[in-house]
């Protein structure tokens, strides 16, 4: 199972970085989401994998590590906040400038002229 998790982390990282290197704001935001998935999964798996051992006192003797879970839980919520800010920035740029390119030279009819 560890192999599957490692493959997933690698794949999510790769897709995230590939999308972040695109030239429009929307794929960059998607890429950031993928990278957040990868990082969260990585931090979580740093607690090592264990099944049927949720850290609830009284239900198990040797639980999985609760600390990375607490870290990742707040990280998930914070990354939502961050994504929302970036989405708003991208929207603002699009409405203000009329293009959604992330590079100064790309994607604008005005700029190209």
């Amino acid at each position: 199972m560890e192999v599957l998790f490692a493959l997933t982390i690698g794949l999510l990282t790769a897709v995230g970085i590939y999308l972040m290197l695109r030239l429009r704001s929307f794929p960059v935001i998607l890429g950031l989401t993928f990278l957040s998935y990868a990082v969260n999964l990585f931090i979580f798996s740093a607690g090592r994998l264990k099944t049927a051992a949720a850290p609830i006192v009284g239900t198990v003797e040797a639980p999985t590590d609760p600390l990375p879970q607490a870290l990742v839980l707040t990280a998930i919520v914070i990354s939502f906040g961050m994504t929302a800010v970036i989405v708003m920035m991208a929207l603002g740029a699009w409405l203000e400038l009329g293009h959604d390119g992330t590079d100064p030279a790309s994607g604008t009819p005005e700029d190209r002229g």
Binding site: M1, L30, N40, K50, P66, V72, T74, V85, L95
Partner: protein
């Protein structure tokens, strides 16, 4: 955690030799800073009040200093030590010995006169209080330097002098010369300060302590250390830059763009003497070696000659004084460099003499400038009749600078010549040349202003406010010249004893007998100086014909070239293209990781793997397919978003499988909210991403992404196949979850209790993020172009009824149970999977469904309170819960709990952590709703808005 032991060590530990009836050295150093604040406040009452306040603080510090004088002059230093950052070897320790007494006396004494002078010098339109605040900050920093007994503390004060002098030199910031002069001074002295930090740290490392009193006892260890030459070079770099020694002398004349009181203070008595102080302070441990003598005496001699020569050919009054200051600083450096006790004693004498006559001369130059508005020597002349009092003051001070008996400048210059005569004939000759030039420029300065045919002017002597301060200094010049042992003797002896570390008995006298070579050298200097003045027109022609490098041009060219190089390097990595900076950053990380992997040892892990299971494998296949499809089909944005949702869903399944029910709940609810957010954004953004990059570029990006992915995957695998190297931190959390925090869900107790402070910060950040979105939207909606573009958008493309009745009815029916579920999840969170984060998200989704089904206008109209107030309430509840612990005498956010039995219910647990979780719940709810409703608010400005 705060241990009581550490707290107990905070108060001052008073050393036995400290006399409680006298002012603590720490207080003496703090008084100018206090004065800076009070002067700023007193500025409301007027100029006089600000000056009086600053003067009173300075006078009080001076009185405190002088109360120690008897003991210090008897050879007993005064100390005070506070533990500050003992772990870094940084103590606030202060010590006043003879050297510190002399320098602190100069700084505070002349500071007092400067405050008086500045009060009457600055035009009524200048902000007096602000000026005095800067001046007092500088005064405090200088006092701190000379009273610190800890080199780290000294370095802090040292940097503070660079910063505060920057403000003072650039006081007239509307003048380009002021800004450029201040920038140059900061660059040179600040750059020197960096070298000094390194040098002092090496010194501290060799001596094994950062206390000066310990370092000064470690001469053998320091001289024997192989690091001695490096430490010496770095320290001298700092001292030379500060004291304007060759080749760093060029900044001082440009700092003359400052108002004259600043020039008189910084460039006669204090800042430029900081470097000299440092060389004197470290004299016992650094001097006496060939390196020291060559570097210090050599630089000093060179600077003395260079400064004197340039001073002779300047016409601006302040420029002459500035270059002569460079020259005299060179003289003192030269004496310190010689390394003998007699020379050190002469150096101390000249520090005092120079401060007195040069400050007086600067003030005189200021008076002349004030009266005539001319500073050019060629246009001035004959002012002796119009300004007789100023003439007398200038006469005495300038003759002292020229080294004419019976003034104090003669004494110190003769002492210098005497010490130079003891070395080689060449050095003696060069020293003589310096003295000769000094005679020439001093007399030229005097004659150029006051002698010759009277100029057309209505100038007259100033009021006592301006002449009192230089008059007092001139009185000292005369008194110390006539009775040197009575006026300067004890201070010079104490300072020289502290400098050399052995008792010194100074023999300062006007007459040493005909056998003294210094007498004949003095006479030669006087005669030669007069001859030089006679030949002046011809020399001037030669000087002007000679090509000379202009230091300012060289400096600016150098800094400009550096700035250009930096900009080129920055542009290479970050030219405003996001894709380029992300590529560069990722490539560096991948390269570093690869380098670490290839050079470091690595072996396979030995932790047993979990067996492959079918259901997770199926989920993995789905996730992988969705992720790969996203990468290939990302141009279709709605499709890419749906695929992303699948990935998120499978991720929450993975969390559920791997014993993290809390994470699974959070991930799935956040996923819903995120998808809603992005769908809203896609309302406005284009549906398609055009194909812009070449296939080569896509291949390059894919290769980098693949490398990063392989690295991340391998790292994760290596981590998961090893057992932790250390005991888990969370073992403590697990064990204490129930007894300590009163909950059985360890994840939740970590969030709301053990790491409550982190969570407190996180919900605040979430709230701020939502407010940022709100503010951004407000700025977008205030822009004409954005509003026009919004008005041109048609959103309801191909959609039939925007609010289908089935959906409306279903969501309204779902609302109460959804909120009930939210409350349930919140309540069980402390013991079972759930909690404020998840509950907040669940309730947000329920409310967002109303927005979707019934529309923005309908939903907003039914809001009883704004989303902002939810965020505020959340943070407030969390804060109050945390602060309530204070009332019990516990640290912030200490939690408590109890169990009650309200009939007819079962046992109910009450915890403060649950209250804190309520804050989390409210903050998450408010943040999510504010973020999404703000986006939908934009839709109200489109062509087909709801009505």
């Amino acid at each position: 955690m705060n241990s009581p032991a550490r707290r107990a060590s905070l108060p001052a530990t008073i050393r036995p030799e400290e006399d409680p009836s006298r002012m603590s050295p720490a207080l003496i150093a703090a008084l100018p800073f206090l004065g800076a604040i009070l002067a700023a406040l007193a500025g409301w009452l007027g100029r006089g009040a600000a000056a009086l306040t600053a003067g009173a603080a300075t006078a009080l510090a001076l009185a405190g200093l002088l109360s120690h004088a008897p003991a210090i002059l008897n050879g007993t230093p005064v100390t005070a030590t506070f533990d500050w950052l003992p772990a870094l070897g940084m103590n606030a320790s202060f010590r006043i010995d003879g050297l510190g007494l002399m320098f602190a006396g100069l700084i505070l004494g002349i500071g007092l006169l400067i405050i008086l002078y500045a009060r009457f010098y600055l035009a009524p339109s200048e902000p007096m209080a602000r000026f005095l605040t800067c001046l007092m900050l500088f005064q405090g920093a200088m006092t701190g330097i000379v009273l610190s007994d800890n080199i780290l503390l000294l370095l802090v004060f040292w940097e503070l002098t660079s910063l505060s002098s920057f403000l003072l030199i650039g006081w007239w910031s509307h003048l380009p010369e002021g800004r450029q002069g201040a920038r140059m001074a900061l660059a040179v002295t600040g750059g020197g300060g960096i070298a000094l930090i390194a040098g002092m740290l090496i010194l501290g490392r060799i001596a094994g302590s950062h206390e000066l009193s310990v370092i000064l006892q470690s001469r053998e260890a320091i001289l024997a250390s192989p690091l001695y030459p490096l430490a010496l070079a770095l320290i001298l770099l700092g001292a030379f830059a500060k004291s304007a020694q060759f080749p760093f002398h060029f900044w001082l004349p440009h700092a003359m763009a400052a108002p004259t009181p600043v020039s008189a203070y910084l460039h006669s008595a204090t800042m430029v003497k900081a470097g000299l102080y440092l060389m004197a302070r470290l004299w016992p441990v650094l001097s006496g070696t060939a390196e020291w003598t060559v570097a210090v005496a050599g630089a000093g001699l060179l600077t003395m000659l260079l400064g004197a020569k340039v001073a002779l050919f300047r016409d601006d009054l302040k420029a002459i004084l500035a270059w002569s200051t460079v020259s005299h600083l060179g003289l003192i450096t030269f004496l310190l460099g010689l390394g003998t006790k007699a020379a050190a004693s002469a150096a101390m004498l000249h520090v005092l003499a120079h401060a007195s006559f040069k400050a007086a001369l600067f003030m005189v130059a200021g008076i002349v400038d004030h009266a005539t508005h001319i500073r050019d020597l060629r246009r001035l002349g004959g002012l002796r009749r119009a300004m007789p009092l100023t003439f007398v003051l200038a006469l005495v001070a300038a003759l002292s600078m020229a080294g004419i008996p019976p003034l104090n400048g003669f004494l110190s210059k003769e002492a210098m010549l005497e010490n130079a005569a003891l070395t080689t004939p060449l050095v003696a000759l060069l020293a003589l040349a310096g003295a000769l030039l000094s005679v020439a420029y001093s007399l030229r300065f005097l004659a150029g202003i006051f002698l010759g045919p009277p100029m057309e002017t209505r100038a007259h002597d100033p009021g006592p406010g301006l002449w009192l301060a230089p008059a007092l200094l001139v009185a000292i010049v005369i008194a110390s010249g006539l009775m040197p042992m009575a006026v300067f003797g004890p201070f010079v002896e104490a300072a020289a004893s502290a400098t050399t570390g052995t008792p010194v008995h100074a023999h300062i006298a006007l007459w040493h007998g005909l056998a003294s070579p210094a007498l004949w050298m003095s006479l030669a200097a006087l005669g030669g100086g007069l001859v030089l003045l006679g030949l002046y027109p011809r020399l001037r022609a030669v000087w002007e014909a000679a090509p000379l490098p202009e230091a300012k041009a060289v400096f600016e060219a150098t800094t400009d070239a550096l700035a250009r190089a930096c900009r080129r390097a920055t542009d290479l990595l970050n030219d405003g293209r996001l894709s380029r900076s992300i590529f560069a950053a990722t490539a560096v990380i991948v390269a570093l990781a690869a380098w670490a992997f290839l050079t470091g040892p690595h072996a396979a892990g030995n932790r047993p793997l979990l067996p492959l299971e079918f259901a997770p494998l199926a989920g993995w296949v789905l996730l992988t397919a969705a992720a790969i499809a996203t990468a290939f089909r990302h141009r279709n944005r709605v499709l890419a978003l749906l695929l992303t949702g699948i990935v998120g869903l499978m991720l929450s399944a993975a969390f559920a499988w791997a014993s993290a029910p809390d994470l699974a709940l959070t991930q799935i609810t956040v996923e819903v909210v995120t998808i809603l957010l992005m769908l809203l954004a896609l309302n406005f953004l284009p549906d398609e991403t055009p194909r812009e990059s070449t296939s080569l570029r896509r291949a390059r990006d894919a290769a980098l992404a693949a490398a990063a992915g392989i690295g991340a995957g391998l790292l994760a695998f290596a981590l998961m196949t090893r057992d932790p190297a250390f005991p888990r931190v969370s073992d403590y959390h697990w064990a204490q979850s129930k007894p300590g925090a009163g909950g059985t869900n360890a994840v939740n107790t970590i969030i709301v209790d053990f790491r409550g402070y982190d969570t407190y910060g996180e919900i605040t950040v979430l709230g701020i993020a939502a407010l940022v979105i709100f503010a951004l939207a407000a700025s977008v909606l205030s822009s004409r172009t954005a509003l026009d573009r919004l008005a041109g958008l048609k959103l309801a493309r191909n959609a039939g009824d925007p609010h289908p009745p089935m959906l409306v009815a279903a969501t309204r029916f779902l609302m109460p149970p959804a909120i009930l579920v939210g409350i349930f999840i919140y309540l069980r969170g402390h013991n079972l999977p759930g909690g404020g984060f998840v509950a907040g998200l669940v309730v947000s989704i329920a409310i967002l469904l109303q927005y979707i089904a019934s529309g923005f206008v309908w939903s907003e109209r039914r809001l009883r309170f704004g989303h902002q107030s939810l965020i505020g309430a959340g943070v407030l509840v969390a804060t109050l819960t945390g602060a309530a612990a204070w009332a019990m005498g516990w640290p912030f956010l200490t939690s408590g709990y109890t169990h009650i039995h309200p009939w007819p219910l079962d046992e109910v647990e009450l915890t403060t952590a649950a209250l804190f979780d309520l804050g989390v719940f409210l903050c998450v709810l408010g943040g999510v709703l504010l973020a999404l409703s703000t986006l939908s608010r934009l839709a109200q400005h489109t062509a087909d808005r709801e009505l």
